[in-house]
């Protein structure tokens, strides 16, 4: 089922935390709302769920305007970060609660509970209470409870963030598989870009309550709309260096880098991913830099260097060796270069 946000905004008192957010989630799509803490992801999700009133704009689910509907009439299920299991109900009662409210008869509830419990592999735990479960098991119960009534839309607010790293990776894969199997439209909130990149069909990146970019993970990585997106996605974040753009030539210190365009921008920024750079001899590089530190990290060496005042990271082969403060050159292919307007943060696309 589709979910459409049309210029949805939200204010708490005088503070506007969501600015005219518009997005369209396709039927069966896995959309991830990604953003730093406080960027308004949870608020957006809670508005879709109906737990938060809407200050402006409309929300519709499956083509039906639900802006003023109660949560229970929206046919959405939510998995909370805290899992929110009912502590006084057994696992079976927790999962069966949405069905019980819909007045299904007991045998029907039981069989459906069994079915989803088997799907998430907690059928052994049905008689237990939430306090007797581990974090991962609680997570599965919360998931089963959301799945049991086949909602139009799944909403998940950082569902994996309370798990330890290993379990998180495992559950991530399971979630992805499950969503694929069930084909239910899912909106998933996270601050973890790995989660976003691995799970999403499309990622919506939020910052300060504004949508920065809505695109497939690959696009958002390879073709960021602006400086913020470029620096948010990727690990280590995209390197940036400040300079000016002079008729298509980027001027930084004494170095001049031909970018292939013709723009002139007084305050410009170039962006380069760590893996797109090579460390070379000073005279062979496009930009000269000073080595700041190098760290061997398993299969590669992470070289940190200074270009003027800017720090950049470069992935070098693990055999790389050089002394601190040595001069180095940085080489890269021209089409791996990103240009941004420093004042607006907007991407400068080469004409």
């Amino acid at each position: 089922m589709t979910v459409v946000l049309d210029a949805v905004s939200k204010s708490f008192g005088n503070v506007k935390v969501l600015h005219e957010l518009s997005l369209e989630v396709q039927d069966g799509e896995f959309l991830v709302l990604l953003g730093a803490s406080g960027s308004g992801k949870s608020t957006a999700l809670r508005m879709i769920a109906g737990l938060e009133t809407v200050s402006g704009g409309r929300i519709s689910i499956s083509g039906r305007d639900v802006t003023d509907q109660l949560p229970k009439n929206r046919d959405v299920a939510m998995v909370f970060q805290s899992y929110a299991l009912y502590p006084h109900k057994t696992v079976a009662e927790n999962i069966g609660y949405p069905l019980k409210i819909r007045r299904l008869n007991r045998t029907e509830v039981e069989s459906q509970v069994r079915e989803v419990a088997a799907q998430v592999r907690i059928d052994e735990l049905l008689e237990r209470y939430p306090r007797e479960l581990s974090g991962g098991q609680r997570q599965r119960v919360a998931l089963a409870r959301a799945m049991v009534r086949r909602p139009s839309v799944f909403l998940m607010d950082e569902p994996l963030s309370n798990l330890d790293a290993k379990l998180r990776g495992h559950m991530r894969a399971e979630l992805k598989h499950m969503q694929h199997e069930l084909g239910i439209t899912t909106i998933y909130v996270t601050h973890d870009q790995i989660e976003a990149m691995t799970l999403a069909h499309r990622v919506a990146l939020l910052e300060g309550g504004r949508l920065q970019q809505l695109a497939a993970p690959k696009t958002i990585y390879e073709d960021p709309e602006n400086l913020f997106v470029a620096q948010f996605i990727g690990s280590p974040p995209m390197n940036v260096a400040h300079g000016r753009l002079d008729e298509g030539t980027f001027v930084i210190g004494e170095d001049r880098v031909a970018t292939g365009g013709t723009e002139t921008v007084a305050n410009a920024v170039i962006g380069l991913r760590a893996e797109d750079c090579q460390v070379v001899a000073p005279e062979d590089g496009a930009i000269r830099a000073q080595l700041f530190a190098n760290e061997l990290i398993g299969d590669h060496t992470l070289v940190t260097a200074k270009i003027g005042e800017d720090m950049v990271s470069i992935k070098a082969p693990k055999e790389f060796e050089a002394g601190i403060d040595e001069a180095i050159g940085i080489a890269f292919e021209k089409d791996k270069l990103y240009l941004f307007d420093r004042d607006t943060g907007a991407r400068i696309r080469r004409s």
Partner: protein, 348 residues
């Protein structure tokens, strides 16, 4: 094991893990304390079997050894004064149970609303209501206007004033103000309000009726219920309630299925407290009842006022029968008072 003094105080080790010497001391202290607590009850019990001579001739402690127990006080109350005793007992039961039920039901719902909904009444409108009500009371009390007429006119005036002027008041009250207003009802000592309450019930001809005392007790207990339950309700993770809403529950369904079961400890403790307060209340009952609606505390006090001096033995009998219902209720409710109800709800 290094344990701080605080840990010793608040997370004492199990008595089973103690060294034998320590264990002995702990048991000795506990035994002493038990005796200390139970002694008054024992004293009342034996006094109820004493005769006037036994009481007046100095302390005697052991029945059959120190004195010959007799049933005269029990007989007096349950045979000669049977109907009076029974009536007071039934009055007490009806009044305390009704008042407890009413204040716990109304109070917990009010408290939940204050914990989970946001109210913003306009200050000016609330102020107008108070003014109009004062006017209505003055009209009744000072100028002898019929109370029904006065109330109806007051409500009508308030309604039109609020409709006409309400929008112009900017300042608003919040939930915190309402909560404080509730508890402020208990800051006044009951003796201060007893005369106005008396006059109110006199106006509506309800003096010496159950309903008057039940209403009064409900009102004075409401703030206690609201304040105690507020704490329990706010300690329930809001996620649970939101999740239940998304699962399809109505607001009332959330309250019934999730909130009530999770606050049953608080509810049980509050019920018990309110029941005890209503059961033992004396001052208001003294003013509001003259004969038909007299409660047990009044009966006890009456033992004090006879021409024969204080009837310790009769008083003891009444006290013993008065303790029984409270003990029963405590035993029933104690099962619901348990720790860790919220365990496993969130994270973990």
């Amino acid at each position: 094991m290094n344990r701080s003094a605080m840990q010793w105080l608040f997370e004492p080790p199990s008595i089973r893990d103690m060294a034998p010497g320590t264990k002995l001391i702990v048991y000795a202290i506990l035994t002493f304390w038990t005796a200390f607590v139970l002694f008054p009850i024992y004293w009342v019990l034996i006094t109820s079997f004493k005769s006037a001579i036994d009481v007046n001739s100095g302390p005697v402690y052991l029945p059959f050894v120190d004195f010959q127990p007799s049933l005269h006080a029990w007989k007096e109350l349950f045979v000669f004064d049977f109907w009076d005793t029974l009536r007071a007992y039934m009055n007490s039961l009806i009044i305390a149970l009704s008042a407890t039920a009413a204040s716990v039901i109304i109070g917990s719902m009010a408290s939940y609303a204050l914990a989970r909904f946001e109210y913003q009444p306009r200050f000016g409108v609330v102020f107008m209501f108070v003014l109009v009500m004062i006017g209505a009371f003055v009209a009744v009390g000072r100028y002898g206007v019929d109370w029904r007429l006065s109330c109806a006119v007051g409500v009508a005036i308030f309604y039109f004033l609020a409709r006409a002027l309400g929008r112009h008041f900017r300042a608003r009250l919040s939930n915190g103000d309402i909560l404080f207003w509730m508890i402020s009802q208990r800051i006044l000592a009951p003796i201060v309000v007893v005369v106005p309450i008396y006059m109110m019930f006199q106006q509506v001809s309800l003096l010496d009726t159950h309903i008057a005392i039940i209403l009064t007790y409900t009102v004075i207990n409401l703030p206690i219920v609201i304040w105690l339950m507020y704490d329990f309700f706010t300690s329930i993770p809001i996620d649970l309630e939101e999740c239940a809403q998304l699962d399809g529950a109505t607001r009332f369904g959330v309250f019934w299925d999730i909130v009530l079961p999770l606050s049953r400890s608080g509810l049980a403790a509050t019920t018990l407290l309110v029941m005890i307060l209503s059961w033992n209340e004396y001052l208001l009952a003294l003013f509001l009842s003259t004969s038909r609606a007299q409660t047990m505390p009044i009966l006890v006090a009456a033992m004090n006022a006879g021409e024969r001096g204080i009837l310790w033995w009769s008083m003891s009998v009444v006290i013993i029968v008065m303790i029984i219902p409270v003990v029963i209720l405590a035993v029933i409710l104690q099962r619901y008072i348990s720790k860790g109800l919220l365990l496993g709800a969130v994270k973990g």
